[in-house]
């Protein structure tokens, strides 16, 4: 078989899945977003109506706040921790990576339940810390202003380990000779990290930001579960995805929900395009 033919064969299963659960549903959502519930063309009316929904902009602000905290923490801490682990003794580094990866092995819902317990003054092993901050009930811990931080904490705790593994893998691709050159040139661990390692893993950082933004803008499990578990402490339209679910399954307005989904998709695509252009993620070689 010719190499080109075998290449197509290798990507074929992915392409089938991409069409079935990616491209076709997006097309379906675009169709829904541009039509009325009676299947008549609506132009951008659904988008305008969603924008004027009193719960849409607050939900968007909530997720924006969450993304600002989470992405910043992810970039700074994941990259920082990976650089630190890469400079350590290999066996100690492997042990740390394993420990940091463990939370990622938990299901998302289990992580939320764990954090609900952790944030419950009186039951949490860290109650004294919560009380020191003046939190005496779950309502205090989960005050609206705290929620972006709480969700960022949960997301970071359950997702950072996986990204550290990815980032460490990226660091492992840097040739040992290049790092030895830096040592001979007089660069210590800090300067080697900043001047040599960091620029060489720039593309992986860009990849992480694109992936994390796409995942973060779709935030759903954490606010939904906490909303269910706490009753009225967190409202059911805290995030745009929750609002979409609420509009579709509670109010039976799938067209508005589709418009929200397309809004989120377009935002993620714009961010991805900007990062791709700025970092040359798809360029080959150096």
């Amino acid at each position: 078989m010719r190499p080109r033919g075998s290449g197509y064969l290798f990507v074929a299963p992915y392409v089938v899945l991409l069409i079935a659960v990616g491209i076709y549903p997006v097309g379906y959502a675009i169709n829904l977003a541009l039509t009325t519930f009676t299947a008549h063309f609506a132009g951008l009316k659904n988008f305008v109506n969603v924008f004027h929904n009193p719960e849409f902009l607050p939900a968007l602000e909530n997720v924006a706040a969450f993304l600002a905290i989470w992405l910043t923490a992810l970039i700074v801490l994941v990259v920082g921790l990976s650089l630190m682990l890469h400079s350590m003794d290999k066996r100690i580094s492997a042990a740390f990576r394993f420990v940091l990866y463990l939370p990622a092995a938990l299901a998302g819902s289990a992580s939320v339940m764990l954090w609900l317990f952790m944030l419950q003054p009186g039951k949490s092993p860290w109650s004294f810390v919560l009380r020191w901050f003046g939190y005496h009930s779950l309502g205090d811990s989960l005050a609206p202003a705290h929620l972006p931080v709480v969700f960022a904490l949960i997301a970071f705790w359950s997702g950072a380990g996986s990204w550290i593994v990815v980032m460490y893998g990226a660091l492992a691709t840097i040739p040992e000779e290049v790092l030895e050159s830096a040592r001979l040139d007089g660069a210590g661990a800090w300067r080697t990290a900043i001047r040599v390692k960091l620029p060489l893993i720039k593309k992986w950082i860009a990849y992480m930001v694109i992936g994390a933004f796409a995942a973060g803008s779709q935030l759903f499990v954490e606010p939904e579960l906490i909303s269910e578990a706490t009753g009225s402490v967190v409202n059911q339209t805290w995030a745009p995805n929750q609002l979409a679910i609420y509009l579709s399954f509670r109010l039976d307005n799938f067209n508005y929900a589709a418009a929200i989904s397309i809004d989120l998709l377009v935002a993620a695509l714009i961010i991805a395009a900007v990062i791709l252009l700025r970092t040359g993620l798809f360029e080959t070689g150096h």
Binding site: V178, E180, S181, L184, D185, G186, G188, R195, L200
Partner: protein, 366 residues
């Protein structure tokens, strides 16, 4: 500038049973270009890396300028190194690659710029300062790697097979450039290669290593003329020296059914019994009187000014060749080179014969 001294230096890698470098003692003079040469795994790169501080030293001491450097980090040793694959920073352009060490040393921008410009001029890199390594040819990358070492103005240069990634023609041109540059800069240089031609053409002195042990260190001419053992004799020279087993008798050394005369002083030094006979390709000629060693030509290499015949010795003596190539190599005038398959007789110029102990390989001298 500085001298470099290896004083009984050994290195044993974790979980290894033998020493990668075994009690290496070597004095390298100020401004000298010394070449460490040997086959793969002989310990030459390990020796270099220990001097650079990239590899720990298990026994012994290394001195630069008379001072031990074992407790110093690589950056404190004032040593620059050119690595086999250049190890340029792929994200930096040529100017930044050249100036990186100076930036780390916190030199003023104007001085960095001036030194980078000076080195770029020396190495003919002025037109490439804005390019990334991926936009350079192999030869240009090699020059950038050299420039990165030169710009630091270190006490010692270390070069680990810096020409191995270049094509044959560029390698020949670059090795003379490096040797000339080293003499011009007068910086003590330790150069590692597995290519004995490179070693012989570049080194003020050449140190031959095998299995982590220094075999001989001398000027190139002496290594060729007067090797201390059969390994050095076989390793230095291209094509390699013919090494063949023979038996010393009253009339000389017998190879198969042919008796070759041994110079009288050498005959006195060697007792009866088996020896290894060493003959350079130029120490053997073609004979036609029936008194030579019978052989059949298996290959003729015509190089223009000279030709090399690769000949298989006749059945009576075949199987006793000790070198890497089972054929006997003879240098001849290309005009008189015999054809492949023809029967010839080899005539040995006795005064050029070297004898080695069969067991230890040590050269037997008069």
């Amino acid at each position: 500038m500085a001298t470099v001294t290896y004083r009984g230096v050994s290195r044993i890698y974790p979980k290894a049973t033998t020493k990668a470098v075994n009690e290496l003692s070597l004095e390298i003079r100020d401004a000298e270009l010394i070449v460490l040469v040997g086959p793969s795994g002989c310990g030459k790169t390990t020796s270099l890396r220990m001097l650079a501080g990239l590899e720990p030293v298990d026994e012994g001491d290394i001195l630069v300028g008379g001072q031990s450097v074992l407790r110093l980090a690589p950056r404190q040793r004032d040593i620059a190194m050119v690595l086999q694959n250049y190890a340029l920073y792929p994200h930096m352009n040529v100017a930044d690659n050249l100036g990186f060490a100076l930036q780390i040393a916190k030199l003023k921008k104007a001085e960095i710029k001036a030194r980078v410009a000076e080195v770029a001029k020396i190495l003919d890199l002025e037109d490439y300062l804005d390019r990334k390594p991926s936009q350079l040819s192999g030869g240009q990358r090699q020059r950038v790697a050299m420039g990165r070492a030169i710009v630091r103005q270190p006490r010692v240069f270390l070069m680990d097979e810096p020409l191995s990634n270049l094509d044959a023609k560029l390698r020949v041109a670059t090795r003379s450039e490096i040797a000339a540059l080293q003499r011009r800069l007068a910086v003590t240089t330790v150069y590692v290669t597995h290519d004995q031609v490179e070693a012989m053409t570049m080194g003020d002195r050449v140190a031959v290593l095998k299995d982590g042990v220094l075999q001989q260190v001398d000027v190139p001419g002496m290594l060729y003329e007067s090797p201390v053992n059969a390994f050095v004799a076989g390793f230095i020279g291209s094509p390699a020296m013919n090494l063949i087993e023979g038996t010393i008798g009253s009339g000389g050394v017998t190879i198969g059914s042919t008796v070759l005369p041994v110079p009288r002083p050498l005959m006195k030094a060697v007792g009866p019994g088996r020896v290894t006979v060493g003959l350079r390709p130029e120490a053997v000629g073609l004979a036609g009187d029936g008194a030579g060693i019978p052989a059949v030509v298996s290959l003729v290499e015509e190089l223009g000014a000279e030709a090399y015949i690769y000949a298989q010795l006749e059945h009576t003596v075949r199987g006793t060749m000790l070198g890497a190539v089972p054929d006997f190599v003879v240098r001849v005038d290309p005009k008189s080179a015999p054809r492949v398959g023809s029967r010839i007789e080899l005539h040995v110029k006795g005064e050029s014969m070297l004898l080695f102990d069969v067991e230890s390989g040590v050269r037997i001298t008069a």
